[in-house]
Structures are given as structure tokens and as C-alpha cells.
Symmetry: C2
Subunit: 306 residues, 2 copies
């Protein structure tokens, strides 16, 4: 079954792989080869879909210096339609809605084929921004211009640790039309379990059916990548940091650890009766970390389809 039909039916069990489009500073002539290398790398995986992130400069959210410099990336929708035409499967296109004018977003929404495309709309990353378009307005545009286009929202377990209200946010997003959620990268398995558990029981209390929650995983092969994960807001437990710092092969240790976390969350969500998906990304652009993330996806797919 394809991704849209599965998500539309409230069913989980799918595996996605997430990409960040190349930087805008990349020579345009190189983009086709970069896209082809990605397709080739993923062609051996039986994925249910791609995810393309829409990177916003989050420096307004976090005043600390960014460990990797921010560099605007090619628009994910354009990158997908122009360069990833060879990808025959489904795609989840992120929209950082603060970047767009309402008309432009509306036109884009209307053009999407809902059988193949899903979208995740993300609000501005800080209350200090005054974005052109609020998340609520963008959600309303989607409902008006292309109601068949499945809408997803972000879910942040770490925010739940601090405020204990992320499950209410998810349910509010569900009322605004979201039919799935994608977490940020999960390193703190208890935070993810706390969120999905509170979400599931709040759904039951309100007579709602939980929609698929997509857990995101990434390997981390260096202290620099770990620093970047933390800058992004991911809580990486001390023991994982120690493992990475002291391992003769941090990337292999991270792959084992991420796989163990993924299988633990899969078993937990199955037991809880919450539909789930898995999303694998590489937060680093180093080739060996990308390849380890592909290997992570391969192992999770094998585990789920065993």
C-alpha cells in the first residue's frame, strides 16, 4: 500500500528516509549528479517514501553559536520536482511556512498530487520572528486549496519533558487537519515514550483515534555532530556521549545504539497500539555518516518486515 493511503487510513509500519536539499551555494550544474547519487544510494532500500526538509535559519531560536554554519538550502519542493524525477515513490515535503507568501504557498499546495505527495508544515522557530505566514493560516490554506493533501506536524519529545503539554499540541494540530506527526531525532527514548504514551491516553480520553507518529533516527559519528544535535534541541544522554567519545569506532557504536532505540520504540508503540512510522536521516553531511544512516534504515526495514 502506498504511503498516502496508509497514512490516510491511520495505519503505520512505514519507513522513510529524510534528505536535506543541497545548499543554494552549490553550482546548479552539480545538482543533477548530487540527486542521482542520492537515488543510487537509496535504491537498494525498500523505502515507503522520501522526506525533504525545509531548513530555516534557526538562529532566532538558539542564540548559541551554530556548530555548523547556516547556509540556505535549495527549496525542497523545487529540488524534488526538478532533480528527483527518477524517484517513483511517495514524498513528504516540508514547508517552513514563515518563508512563504500566502498566495505562493496556496498555489504550491494546489499543484500537489495527494496520491504521491504529503506535506509537513512547520511554524517559525521562535516567537520573536514575525513570519509572513503563521502555521494556523498555512494549515487553513491547505484545507481550502487541497484538502486531500495529507498534512503532518512536528512532534518534539524534549519539549514534552520540559512542559508536559506536547500531547495537547499534537491533538490541537490533529484538529487543524494533521493526519501524522514526525518527531525530531530521538536519542532520549524515555522522552519519546512519555510523549507517545500521554498522546495515546489523551486520545482515548477524548474519543480520538491516534494518528501515525513517525519516530526519527540519525546516527552520530563525531563529537561535532553530537554538538550539532544538541544545538538542534535533541537531548543526547550522557552515556551515549561517553560511548561516542570513548569508542574506537563511534559511528558503529552510534549505529548500534540508534538501532536498539528504534526497535525498543517500535515494540513499545506496538504494545501501546499507536500506529508509527520510522524516519531515518543523517544530520551530518559526511559521507560515512550518510552511509551509516542508510545502513540503519536497511536494518530497521529488515526488522519491521521480518
Amino acid at each position: 500500500m502506498d504511503l498516502s493511503r496508509r497514512v490516510g487510513a491511520g495505519e503505520g509500519g512505514f519507513v522513510l528516509f529524510a534528505l536535506t536539499p543541497p545548499r543554494q551555494s552549490t553550482e546548479i550544474a552539480r545538482l543533477p549528479a548530487i540527486a542521482q547519487a542520492t537515488i543510487d544510494r537509496l535504491s537498494g532500500l525498500d523505502l515507503d517514501g522520501l522526506v525533504l526538509y525545509d531548513i530555516d535559519d534557526e538562529s532566532s531560536r538558539n542564540p548559541a553559536e551554530r556548530p555548523f554554519p547556516f547556509s540556505p538550502t535549495v527549496d525542497p519542493a523545487e529540488y524534488f520536482s526538478t532533480y528527483l524525477g527518477d524517484w517513483r515513490g511517495s514524498v513528504v515535503l516540508y514547508r517552513a511556512v514563515g518563508k512563504y507568501e500566502p498566495e505562493d504557498l496556496g498555489d504550491w499546495v494546489e499543484r500537489q498530487d495527494p496520491r504521491r505527495t504529503l506535506t509537513v508544515m512547520v511554524g517559525a522557530s521562535s516567537g520573536d520572528d514575525r513570519p509572513a505566514l503563521s502555521l494556523a493560516k498555512a494549515q487553513a490554506i491547505r484545507a481550502e486549496r487541497n484538502p486531500e493533501l495529507l498534512l503532518g506536524g512536528v512532534a518534539i519529545p524534549e519539549r514534552h519533558n520540559r512542559r508536559a503539554d506536547e500531547h495537547h499540541r499534537l491533538i490541537a494540530k490533529q484538529s487543524a487537519g494533521c493526519s501524522f506527526f514526525v518527531t525530531q531525532v530521538v536519542y532520549d527514548v524515555n522522552a519519546a515514550k512519555n510523549l507517545v504514551s500521554d498522546y495515546r491516553y489523551e486520545c482515548a480520553a477524548q474519543g480520538l483515534k491516534p494518528v501515525p507518529v513517525v519516530f526519527t533516527f540519525s546516527v552520530c559519528g563525531s563529537m561535532r555532530t553530537l554538538e550539532f544535535l544538541r544545538w538542534l534541541g535533541v537531548d543526547v544522554p550522557r552515556w551515549i556521549e561517553n560511548d561516542l567519545r570513548h569508542s574506537p569506532d563511534p559511528l558503529a557504536a552510534s549505529l548500534e545504539q540508534a538501532y536498539a532505540t528504534a526497535t525498543e520504540l517500535i515494540a513499545y508503540a506496538e504494545r501501546l497500539g499507536v500506529p508509527f512510522g520510522i524516519n531515518v536521516e543523517s544530520v551530518s553531511i559526511r559521507r560515512e555518516e550518510i552511509e551509516a544512516s542508510v545502513e540503519l534504515a536497511r536494518r530497521i526495514i529488515a526488522h519491521l518486515r521480518a
Copy 2:
């Protein structure tokens, strides 16, 4: 190999079962039958030792009302020597050192057979207390009066979450003569992993050999027991609380969860190369919770000896 020789050699892999002696208000005539029931209950288990706690009124540590009323318990050393004579194995006797006069503790220490008895000395639970005997003084008495008597210390993963210095406390206790550590009940697996990881790498940095860390587990069959665990300072994650609150059989759910946590920590400690033991207790005095704790110990023993 018996417990003392194993701990003395810095080796782990052992399983203990912890008891709290009956209340002082119990009719003395009933104590032999209570002790015999305990022996009978544990006789089917291939345990490496018993643990007897020394309960102090911790109301000075936590001003919140205690969910179960405090009631002084029979002295663990007396209870063991008088009523548990049928127990042929090793025993770890706790001493809440603030309760004793130096001479009395010294005499007791001297009388112990170090081949069969180990002791865990616990300091007063709050800085506001002015105990008769400090932990440091008690440790010195042990070193002077019976240096062969193996000494253990408590390890509190939750304190490590808040202050990130528990591994330094462990190493200081090790310098003061501790040759093993016993955690409080573990429900937050990341907190326990963070502590044992920081301890292991700090030992390596200081050229020390890590001593066995004994992880303690208990089932929790009711919200009242959960409330008591939290009062004791145990961080119980929200998802576990939700599981218990909504499960048709909370005790069975708790048994599964505690077993999963134990096997995860065992695998982690093995990978890390830190010797470990397992201690199972029942924080509740309800018969069904005690029996579930015995079942937990049985399953952990089977897992370790498989």
C-alpha cells in the same frame, strides 16, 4: 563462588534479594513464622545472598507526607541473627549509621564473619540531622575493627541526573573502603546508564578498577506504591505511570517492564565492562507484589545463567 569472595575479587554477576525487617510493633511471637515464610518463599530461588535494609525515618529528607506511615522496624542485624538462622547463604546487612553509638557499631562490626556477611553503611538522610555517628567515622570504624568485612555504599542515579557528580561520590566512597555499590530502585534506565558510564570512564581516567555496581529493581503494582517510590526519590517516567494506571493488570505490566529494564542494564554493563550485581526487592508489603518481585528475581537469575 560465594558473594564475599566474588565482591572481594571485583567480580559481578550475582543476584540478591532485599528484605525490610518487620515493624517493631509486630508481636515478637510472630517473628519466627514471618521469617520462615520469607525463607520458604525464597527457597526456590538460586540467590547469591540476602540484603536486609535498615530503615530510617526519612521525613527529615522529604517534608511531603509519607504515603505509607513510617514505623520503626526490627534491627536488621538482630532480625537476621535471631530469626534467619536457616538462611545458609550470604547476607548484606545495611546500617543506617546515624542510629548507632560508635562503640555499639564497632562491637557489631567486629563480631561479623566476613566470609558470610557484608555491610552497606548509609549516612543520615538529611544535612539537618545531627547523627551520633557520621558516615566517614563509621567507615573508619569498619576499617579499624574488621577490615575484612566488605563494605558497600549507596549509589543514587537520580542524584546524578540533578548534580552530575555521583560518580565522584562513588570514587570517594571507594577510597574510603567501599568495594561495591547498591543503587536505589531503578525505573529511569537512562539515569542508571549515565551514572555507570560516568563512573566507568572516571575510574579509567584515575587508573582505578570499577567495583561491582548492584542495580536494584522492584515491581510496582498500584498507584499507591508508585507514589511511595516517588516519595523515596525514585524517578518513575510518565509512560510507566500511564502503563500502570491504564493496564488491566498493572502488576504484570510492572513485572514485564522491570525485567526489560534489568536485561537492558545487564547488557549495557556487560558491554561497558563494569561488574554488576542485581538486587530485587518489594517496596510494597502486599503479598501479590512480594510474589511478583520473587518472580522478577527468578526471571533475572534464569536470564543471567542461561
